[in-house]
Symmetry: C2
Subunit: 354 residues, 2 copies
């Protein structure tokens, strides 16, 4: 059965082999203070740098999840005021975490499946939180709209949750101060690792807040994470296997080529959206084509939801459920590198025949 | 090569098989909101309950590391005052984290390798932090001394870092409010998971602090962790594979029997300490027999350190280095369930022949 839920999703097809190699090479009992670990760390971060085009102005650190980055980013980058674009369950949770941490967290909301039209931000905003790809609804920001936020608000830090979209989006890293994701979505890996990319402005802000006595955390405050990253280490004993597998998967992605991965994502998204658009019973949830996610595609399946799921499962395809209250009338389709063109062709043929 | 470093240490011999089964059963891409995951969570926590004799008064929650528990325990259980017994690098770090979090963190220090003799605690202490087994020096508290802390300070929460000792110590859970460990030590698993056991008094304290507006964290504050644990879930996407493997290893330990595991630990510790005591060139670092760790045994090897390491490696045994500044003149030997009696007999024979 091919797992089309948007995460944890289908494992990338090489994971099993990499795991077996990790066992043979004793990676699973490796000390996180050894040279061998440092090489694994470096393979992983340097691979990511090549794959995503991350410049040297940005540091790459590891957390245990993207959820952790929600907390750590607010603690380390905001003294008082953050601003959140909220259009679904995950962007909402990021906003709530800022509130829990006692910040003045403003928000602009869009209805389910809708795009934003007002991009004005209060002048004294310290951090603008953008959920590039809202996993619950399949609404995705055009990257240029994110870059414009920086152009129009050069003094605010633009922080992008790219959990269920990377490695697809090609960010201009001079226009995004921080990006983060977790590995169990489009990287096709087992869960338990978050990746947090931060530029020098973020590091400087964290230092300032710490010096001013703000509570920025302990072993995982940004300064400590960065200090260890420079040595290719982590402050705590990390998920060594996760960091190892990430390096290997990134290597596989590099060999396939990021352009190929992005083109295949575009192709698969196009055939699915076309099928949904032309379908008599099913429609895409997101109507504005500029904001339709390429990596998490949500269909309004209404009263046909159960029947469509059954038809897909008969072909070996397990669609994702609609999120939360939409469980009964939507289906979600992850479009990740682990999902092949052939599987997507089978998916659209099955949907079209319904 | 048998890995005798005290962690990450030798994998338990069944880990590879469990991993392969996890791959076959699609555990690595399982949703953390599925019934199957809830069953995995439950297998793991109920197994731990049986193995360690944890009563229903105590909840079991998962973090990403024991380092995380250092931070979360102080945030959730201390308004102002903690008290720390410090006798090595790891107990010191716990104390530092309390300071970083702005608490009045008192400490009582013992020199490297020494035991404590003064157990008096200021009356208004909220949390007493005990590192049951100081991994850097091999000093381990007799469990009765920990239980007495509770008898003499019934109003303070007794929190025990048992990172490199569990499942060996048999705590009286009416006398310890919280215990935590990580899985890459004596459980013989890959790193990336912390286990935090807390009683009702801890949960009540966390609720009180939260109600009073203290900063107790967000997705991993104790109330949230506990609320999800009751549903056999975690707030964030966790290290699902780690939770699965823990359940399987605990199952293996239960089949071997906790009494057998403890007796074998005692046997292996006894033959190693006897050998060190009788040796002309090597001595145990810890002299007080009541405070000699059974699970991390540290030897003063002085100028013979390199030669002894070479002799052991020739027999397929990789000893752990001394910690920090003791790298050149000490060796550390983990005595975990993954280390067999036969391996320990080979170890002592090799040392005796040196």
């Amino acid at each position: 059965m091919i797992n089309l839920t948007p995460g944890p999703s289908q494992l990338y097809f090489t994971v099993a082999d990499h795991l077996k190699k990790a066992l043979r090479e004793n990676v699973l009992s490796l000390s996180h203070r050894s040279k061998d670990f440092e090489m694994i760390y470096q393979e992983s971060t340097e691979g990511l740098r090549s794959l995503l085009g991350i410049p040297d102005t940005h540091s790459i650190v590891f957390t245990s999840s993207a959820t952790e980055v929600w907390e750590r980013s607010i603690q380390n980058l905001v003294a008082e005021k953050s601003f959140h674009f909220v259009n679904g369950a995950f962007s909402k949770r990021y906003h709530e975490i800022a509130q829990q941490l006692g910040k003045q967290a403003l928000l602009r909301e869009a209805a389910e499946g809708e795009s934003f039209s007002d991009f004005s931000i209060p002048k004294d905003t310290e951090l603008i939180a953008v959920t590039h790809n809202e996993t619950s609804t399949g609404v995705s920001w055009p990257v240029n709209a994110i870059h414009s936020l920086k152009d129009n608000n050069p003094d605010a830090l633009v922080v992008v949750d790219a959990v269920s979209s990377l490695p697809y989006p090609q960010f201009d890293y001079t226009k995004v101060d921080s990006v983060f994701f977790s590995v169990q979505k489009a990287f096709g890996m087992p869960a338990g690792l978050g990746v947090w990319i931060v530029n020098e402005a973020c590091l400087a802000k964290a230092e300032t807040l710490q010096a001013q006595g703000y509570q920025t955390g302990t072993y995982h405050n940004l300064s400590t994470l960065h200090a260890f990253a420079k040595k290719h280490q982590t402050p705590e004993t990390p998920n060594v296997l996760g960091i190892y597998l990430l390096g290997k998967i990134v290597g596989d992605f590099l060999r396939r080529g990021i352009l190929t991965l992005r083109r295949e994502t575009d192709y698969k998204a196009a055939i699915l959206y076309n099928t949904l658009q032309d379908h008599a019973q099913i429609k895409p949830l997101v109507q504005d084509v500029h904001w339709q996610s390429k990596t998490v595609i949500v269909a309004n399946t209404g009263s046909h939801t159960a029947a469509i799921r059954t038809a897909l499962q008969a072909k070996g395809l397990a669609p994702g459920e609609g999120y939360g209250k939409s469980k009964e009338n939507q289906l979600r389709f992850a479009n990740f590198p682990a999902h092949s063109k052939e599987q997507y062709e089978l998916l659209v043929d099955t949907l079209a025949a319904f």
